[in-house]
Symmetry: D2
């Protein structure tokens, strides 16, 4: 006999606050208790809440984005105990399918307020903004950003195995060092924070420890992956994750219906709740055998594909918008590419916030071009022209169209 | 009657020093004289020397790379006067074909010495190194990096229109500012340099001026493009370039048989001499109509393609190899991804220099993953597995193979 | 407000015989009563049984295939009344998603017995055979055909609108003419057949009429589509169907997890029950405006893709296996291509029946090459090499592997 | 040392009649003398004339097509003696590049007169017609079929090794049998024909023998390939050919800049003269080791690619345009699909002959859909929408455009 019904190893309740569901947690810590056990090679389903745990509504106001409580995010499903997994092994995660819930065929993209989350372009666009997306099978469209429709490449933003105590200590050390030495006038990293910590089914004692030591889920980290926000981890992809604790303590969440490279508005993918079908396998001694320090992956075979000539591509250089020359700064260069694209698409009548949201969540390609020609890094941003229902190719002057509006909150 | 024989608008002599050929030049300056005139919409061919002007030989020593004279590089063909082109217009460049010379079916990839050029990984790999590539139609392979064969996506590394005097002054200002303020202990930018300036057919007086003011060709720059090293500008691509001077003064050169995203070893593409077929068209008032500050482009329809699931992809984060946490630094993150790949491929018996060369010139995909999850930028580097004649998929321990050696120079 | 929960317009019961479910039917006839009404532009789900109505079991015997009752097949869901649809309009069917049931993650491929159904190669392979496929998200594999795993391109084999009385009469006329005039010694077409007719919720009187006149569902037909078995009608595809009766009377069924071009073993796709998400829109006067006599379609954007060079392709010519030269016969030529492929893959240890099943259901590309070079039609059959877990590229002699067996019934 | 200049093993003179050039020949026969010798594994170039040997001019009249002398066609370059090749071996032909001559950047597509060549649709379109195509690098366009421009996938229509005497006798036997038994009222095959035979550098005696016995080059044949007209044998493809005589006697010719599946108008590709770069390798005992009776191939990695959803696809069934039902006839079905497409594109103002030419030479996909659903074969024809400079998607009524005319000859 072959495969019979596929079990759902974790179920969530979309009507109940995320912090009251013991199958969820929101910190990386080796002491968060296991939620479920899976066999090596087992196929199973996992339900996930959206990354805000339901804080954002299907409506036309961005106030919920503006006022989001960022201590109550990234509720991950798990951690799962994988039979036989030991530190030094590699967990092979095949993402076999990802789907929204039938009863919730929608998601959202948000721009955070500069003073509550911020984002890649917050110096230019400090207000909170929001777009709601309707899902029609593999497609999505938004009443807030018209003339746009595209197939999603549904994927989890976050997956990883728990850090060991040593690795966790190293994270806390190096991020604290950055916080204490930075000259930037902005929040550069988030230290452990007991407020609203959710440690799954942990005892109060463990929960307190997790609150004091547990790593925040915002950044991805080299030793385990985590919140990498890689848009290519969709259907059929295979991720190879380092295992640092017995049983692996694998967690997953932050489902995205679609995301652009960079996820620039921070709440930038099309965030959704849904169900993911997984197969986990253990590669014994994999870290040594693959000489692996950070995750690696193989994308899936069913990515939406456009011909290569259908990407309108913008170039960005490491000269910032004030005319300052930066040395080989790919981050500055990519920001410039995004600004070039906003300027271009604005001509059709889109507001800057609409384009900012669009570039965050549509299947935008962000590529390295040249990183050695001092002093200018060159980065490119490619927009698949076929996601629009009008022709955006560069043929000359254009007329503005009726583009409605996305939700934008007051400052 | 339709198209008849296609004329070659610029011919080069591979046996003559580049600096003695008046159809070439090696500075960006509005006063470099026109080399040839082309009609709006004309199809024509241009011959180009390799970017070192023939300094590198088809042999097994990297001494020529180590001792390269970097004041004698980037000899560009042109500038071309495009009929009717005016400042504010956009030059639409269709790259219709690019081919090596039949009598020179080979190219090279080099790693520069840390003290003479350097590169993306020069702190770890300070020696000069070299690989020679043989071209068989669309394919290339190297006796210096065995078990690797792939189709090239032949493209020019450099193309652009001359800056106006104002733009040139701005380049010099902002790069000088960087030079004078940097705290980095390395060369961060290259100011104008009269030594070995080549101003085409210019008079001595003009040549002197170009030497004093002319912009070096190493970096790409936002106002005109230049040395962007974008691997996707191959057959069938279309580039939209800002025009800043009457007649456009379009120049092109630095042909690459293939390049990886980032061109990380600096002399990193498969550098070659060859012939490019172009069609130039003028879009009047294009800069205003497209609201265009930097070049944009559409890739061509015949890029080599592998299935999406055939890219083995490495993740890199902005924590450097000394364990220092950087804030959202995509450059650091991409460097980490390249190091992860070197560690992985080293297992098969390749030397680090072989992989460094390979990642520079093979069709490597360098992508932005997440750029908002403070403090970690996440970048990915994807290697198309089908370019190897053995299986590099991550299945467990491997045995070293006989991999010969690339040329490496002494320090 | 945007899209909320998506309704399921037709539900089936997998545990109940198909002929007892009034939401199903198995004939094309204008008098089959409507099952449900949908709005122009509505998104909804439809459940479908497998095309045999559950006659085939998840086991290791092919007796059920051998003894299948072919009067009890092709139970279609519907017909649907589409608001506003009139004869002469075109029904635009967007296939937004297709999924197996969570509780039935498997399907089957069968070869029919030569005397009960037959197939493309029944003269050479007269026995019934069967393979069961397990579904893991987008992937499938079979215990009966090892070393093979691939992503499905799930699609409906059958969709169409009911014929008008006139069109139905024409079908019956021309197929009866073929039956009465053929010189072939085999069943060439299937006339109306009252036995086991299922006319949905029709009255006995209507049912009798449908039995006498209704068109069998086996062949596709130019006026409406029907059982076209086009593997590209997967997620995201859009089919344009002629409408011949008021309300369209659209029906759908015969879901395939995957199919090869030609579906050569007849029961040849991976047959499954499942759920399809649809959006139906009416294009008024579309038949005239598009000058459309037969359906046309746009495939979806998420087809599994392999690089073009990964298809091992076999050539077939219109010279049959007895050495007889046929005149420009593409059917003979395609049969020869399939035989060449069987001979090739047999070398690895697969039985001929295993390959026959595989070519029926895996994503095989069957192309026209030349159809004008008298007297030989040339057809090609391309096998994506990446669906095997071993290398099938043509490099020389091979060793047989342990390939188990598919189920084969006695004659 | 690696590869140096690539030699041109056969040169042709475009200004000299093809039948006066001893490096060409126009029959398949084992006694045609070798033209040049190549080493196993050698890379070399071969020049080829167009398949009519220069009978068609770059002008606006189709009279040359109408009056073409079909005894003077298919002048192949070769045959080549491949070092070490023996009967039973397989010749592995890597097509490394194909290019038109720089001095002849154009080609032609013709519809033959029904009484002099004919074609797939000659009953409906009996007149001769012609379109001239201009080549701009990888692109082509025609003054005779406006609003169309696409990248070519340049390939040879013909390649193969000479038959042995036994195989040649079998060809003549079976084709003679067809000629003597057919009930069709048209020419169904072409027997040996001494008129205008060209046997390369053969003596008069050999030439006479070749004239009497030599196989005409029109059809491809299963034992060796020949005129298969497979559009996918472009840059980077690899063809595996059976060898039947010592030295292989490999010949090649009939270059196409582009072709649609089926090459339906017979002179249907974009025919051109040009240069092909090849690498020939011998696989000893390959026919036995691969169990190979007919050629097989791997396409190249740089085919032009459009997203899968960009193919507007027409369905055809085996009911002919007189309403006659044919039994599983894929040829009839494909003809119907072509007619559906002509009807569709005619709406935009194209003449039927323009579309007939276009479908012959543009990168049309002709696929098998279903070949088992008695009595209807279903075939599909896919048109890449991006080859037009206007939108041909099926959205409703359209207005006719100014489409000029192709050349059409009087009957």
């Amino acid at each position: 006999m072959g495969l019979t019904e596929i079990r759902t190893a974790v179920k969530v309740d979309l009507k109940k606050p995320a912090d009251q569901q013991p199958v969820l947690h929101n910190r990386w810590h080796p002491d968060v208790p296991f939620t479920a056990k899976v066999k090596d090679g087992e196929v199973f389903k996992v339900e996930c809440v959206d990354w805000t745990g339901g804080q954002i509504g299907n409506n036309d106001s961005a106030d919920d984005v503006k006022n989001i409580d960022l201590t109550k995010i990234h509720y991950l499903s798990g951690p799962f105990e994988v039979e036989g997994a030991e530190p030094g092994d590699v967990l092979v995660v095949e993402i076999q399918d990802v789907q929204p819930f039938q009863e919730q065929p929608w998601g959202f993209t948000g721009v955070f307020d500069k003073d509550n989350g911020g984002g890649f372009l917050d110096e230019l666009y400090p207000n909170a903004a929001k777009a709601i997306w309707d899902f029609e099978g593999i497609f999505c469209s938004s009443r807030h950003i018209p003339h746009l429709r595209f197939p999603g490449q549904i994927h989890p933003g976050i997956l990883g195995c728990a850090p060991s105590a040593e690795i966790l200590a190293e994270w806390n050390r190096r991020e604290a060092h950055l916080i204490s030495t930075t000259e930037l006038k902005r929040i550069v990293a988030l230290p452990p924070q007991p407020q609203n910590v959710h440690a799954g089914s942990a005892s109060d004692e463990v929960k307190e420890k997790v609150g004091k030591e547990g790593a925040r889920t915002i950044p991805g980290r080299p030793e385990h992956g985590g919140n990498c926000d890689i848009k290519n981890l969709g259907r059929g992809s295979k991720v190879f994750l380092p295992i640092h604790v017995p049983g692996a303590k694998f967690s997953i969440g932050d489902l995205h219906f679609s995301q652009g490279d960079g996820e620039i508005s921070f709440c930038g993918a099309i965030e959704m709740a849904g169900v993911i079908t997984l197969k986990l396998s253990v590669m014994q001694s994999g870290m040594k055998d693959l000489d692996m320090k950070s995750p690696l992956f193989l994308p899936g075979p069913v990515e939406p594909h456009y011909g290569p000539s259908k990407y309108l591509t913008f170039e960005g250089f490491s000269v910032d918008d004030k005319g300052v020359q930066h040395y080989m700064d790919a981050t500055v260069a990519y920001r410039q590419a995004t600004l070039r694209c906003i300027e271009y698409l604005r001509r059709y009548g889109y507001s800057d916030y609409q384009v900012y949201l669009m570039l965050s969540c549509a299947p935008i390609q962000g590529h390295v071009a040249g990183l050695v020609d001092i002093p200018n890094a060159c980065m490119t941003l490619g927009v698949p022209m076929d996601i629009f229902d009008f022709d955006i190719s560069p043929t000359g002057p254009v007329e503005k169209m009726e583009m409605g509006a996305c939700a934008v909150a007051n400052k």
